[in-house]
């Protein structure tokens, strides 16, 4: 125990004397959490609309003001020539073109139907799709209003009408940041866990201090614990900083309990620290350790369900995600933060993560040799 205490003391001294590590611990989460959620935002706002109004009627004006008042659309160009509107799209000043034909109001009143023309710039596919869908529903709504104005509806609709409306659960406003911030926090924790431990031990190899330690009677187990505990604590500290930023900057307060998050994070950190240790036992120098952990991180992030839903992946890729601790933690974070899941709901995840922690750490300890 005395040995372990001194190993820990030494490790903490070294960490706190390295200003770059301190900077990494405090500044990295702040930057990542302040910037990334804004960039990774699928919510579409401010679609630039270009209107070709050849009608200049009451109805066309009503339609335009209805569209722009939703907040999703910005009237960027108002013209009466389609080629000019298209030119604005080409210049990037507009995303959507809506053409109102010259006889729009007349036909609507006389013939009970009129046509509108929509053209969207599909270079930004997401924006084009969502934008046109929004626009279509606004036009439908407008259509209903017009009909109301002209036709006196009977009390009961003579024909059956099925209207589908939907409401979002857990994240009713579909605030994308609620979805992204917990996930990014997980990535952050993984990066700190894997990289810091891997590089720390490999640095001892490079400087030769590990050689000096190896000739002493220090037990493997003590040495590795001496490495694990400091980074485990740092990981939990980073999690706390991250959760604070999520609260202060995004107003995210988990629906579930913080205790659940911390319990899972504690076990998750053990698993990723074990992975870092494992990398360090194989790597000879810091470059190797960096490259390997970078490679692992890429897979963890891309197959972790942060950006793309795991359920939407092909079967073989789903299998890979089952061996990805990050995927479990992202899921658990979202479950707890958005749904309010408790320990009982994440029992399976906890058990699997515990398995990861045991396997990775035992592998690392077995592979760490005091003699070559």
């Amino acid at each position: 125990m005395r040995t372990l205490r001194f190993l820990l003391q030494k490790e903490f001294r070294q960490i706190f004397r390295d200003p770059s590590i301190i900077r990494l611990i405090f500044i990295m989460p702040i930057i990542q959490l302040m910037i990334l959620p804004w960039a990774a935002d699928y919510e579409i706002k401010n679609i630039k609309l270009s209107v070709v109004d050849k009608d200049h009627s009451d109805y066309s004006r009503q339609l335009i003001s209805k569209i722009t008042s939703t907040g999703y659309f910005q009237l960027a160009v108002y013209t009466n020539s389609y080629p000019e509107a298209l030119q604005q799209v080409e210049k990037g000043n507009a995303d959507l073109v809506m053409e109102i034909p010259a006889s729009f109001e007349k036909e609507l009143v006389k013939e009970d139907q009129a046509t509108l023309f929509l053209a969207m710039n599909a270079i930004d596919g997401v924006k084009a799709n969502l934008g046109s869908a929004y626009l279509r529903s606004i036009i439908q709504d407008f259509n209903r209003e017009v009909r109301l104005e002209w036709i006196q509806f009977p009390r009961f609709s003579p024909e059956t009408q099925i209207e589908i409306t939907s409401s979002n659960w857990f994240n009713p406003l579909m605030n994308y940041k609620y979805f992204m911030v917990p996930g990014i926090l997980v990535i952050l924790l993984t990066m700190i866990g894997v990289n810091l431990t891997a590089i720390n031990i490999v640095r001892e190899k490079e400087i030769g201090t590990i050689e000096q330690i190896n000739v002493t009677p220090v037990k493997k187990f003590h040495f590795i614990l001496g490495k694990l505990i400091p980074f485990w604590l740092i990981g939990l500290l980073v999690l706390t900083i991250g959760l604070t930023i999520a609260w202060l900057a995004y107003g995210i307060i988990p629906v579930g309990s913080f205790v659940t998050i911390y319990i899972f994070a504690a076990i998750f950190l053990l698993a990723v620290l074990g992975l870092g240790l494992l990398v360090s036992t194989y790597a000879e120098n810091q470059q190797q350790a960096m490259l390997v952990s970078f490679f692992i991180m890429m897979i963890f992030i891309l197959l972790g369900g942060l950006y793309t839903s795991i359920d939407g992946m092909p079967e073989w890729a789903k299998w890979i995600t089952r061996f990805n601790p990050v995927a479990y933690f992202i899921e658990v974070m979202r479950m707890v933060v958005l749904k309010g899941s408790g320990l009982a709901d994440i029992k399976k995840h906890l058990l699997i993560m515990f398995g990861f922690a045991v396997v990775l750490n035992s592998w690392a300890i077995l592979n760490y040799r005091k003699r070559s």
């Binding site: 001294r13 400087i207 002493t216 009677p217 003699r371």
Partner: protein, 306 residues
């Protein structure tokens, strides 16, 4: 009982095609309380030998004991009893002098006070800087700190791998004085060095070349084994002189040695022949004298005989 006993150690590196033999059937014994020097050029296999004896490396075959303990079976016991100072400074650069010493004392389950007597003479020299980080010490200081850390648990055998490489002449001399002091305390010291002049300071030396033992003897014994007469020659135009001497068939070997050329003669009577030959050649600033061989001459000869 010998403090270190090595029998038929073989160590090779690399796979079949590029196999390098670092140690080729090495055997030797070191008595208790001896300063035993392993002398050899870079790449002779010194560090491999040290790593095997300090239980950091496994030999391919052969056996070795340190303080009566087998390096393979009793590695845990050995680690408690030996002190090892690797060739490269390998203490924690970001810990202070005192913290390093304390750290190594603790992991050996002892304290600085317990064995302070042993390291006192060395440690007092660096004590004024005890709050300085180890990375900021000068080369000689680092070496003293490393030695203190290797001694803090009062080892019975001390392994010093090229302790004086890259250290200035004054510090080297001081360092050897310290080793003598430790010897007086009954610690067996195995020290390696590429410097021939340090060989004289050992009780016994082992000349190592390309993983092979050339000779094991006391420094005096090694020199005594050098039977051929040795001459030192100097003149203006050293390079043509060396070529001229090498061309003579009475000469066994000739090589530059400091400001002189050392010339090894085949027989005693060749000495006069060489003198007259060279005097005839009418050389400027010519000088010739008989010299005693030193370890380096012996080493060069042994190397060439191989």
């Amino acid at each position: 009982m010998s403090a270190i006993s090595v029998k038929n150690i073989i160590k090779t590196y690399g796979k079949k095609k590029q196999k390098v033999t670092a140690l080729n059937d090495i055997s030797f014994d070191v008595n208790e309380g001896e300063i035993f020097g392993i002398i050899g050029p870079d790449g002779a296999g010194k560090t491999s030998l040290f790593r095997i004896l300090t239980t950091l490396l496994l030999a391919d075959s052969g056996s070795a004991t340190v303080d009566g303990l087998d390096v393979i079976k009793d590695l845990k016991e050995i680690r408690k009893k030996v002190g090892y100072m690797p060739g490269r400074f390998s203490l924690y650069q970001d810990l202070t002098v005192e913290e390093n010493l304390q750290f190594f004392a603790t992991i050996f389950n002892t304290s600085i006070n317990e064995n302070y007597e042993l390291i006192k003479d060395i440690y007092v020299q660096i004590e004024p800087f005890k709050n300085r980080r180890a990375g900021k010490l000068s080369g000689g200081m680092k070496q003293k700190l490393a030695l203190s850390c290797a001694l803090i648990h009062r080892p019975s055998v001390l392994f010093l791998d090229e302790p004086t490489t890259g250290v200035d002449a004054v510090s080297r001399k001081e360092f050897w004085e310290m080793l003598k002091g430790l010897k007086a305390q009954g610690i067996t010291i195995l020290v390696s060095t590429p410097y021939m002049d340090e060989a004289r300071l050992c009780d016994k030396v082992l000349l190592l070349q390309k993983g092979k033992v050339l000779s094991i003897n006391t420094p005096d014994g090694v020199i005594k084994d050098f039977e051929n007469p040795l001459m030192a020659v100097k003149a203006k135009g050293m390079l043509p002189l060396l070529e001229k001497i090498k061309a003579m068939d009475i000469v066994k070997d000739a090589y530059p040695f400091g400001e002189y050329h050392h010339v090894v003669m085949k027989k005693e009577e060749n000495v006069e022949q060489l003198k007259s030959n060279l005097t005839k050649a009418d050389l400027k600033e010519f000088e010739i004298k008989r010299v005693e061989a030193d370890i380096e001459d012996c080493f060069i000869q042994l190397m060439k005989e191989e």
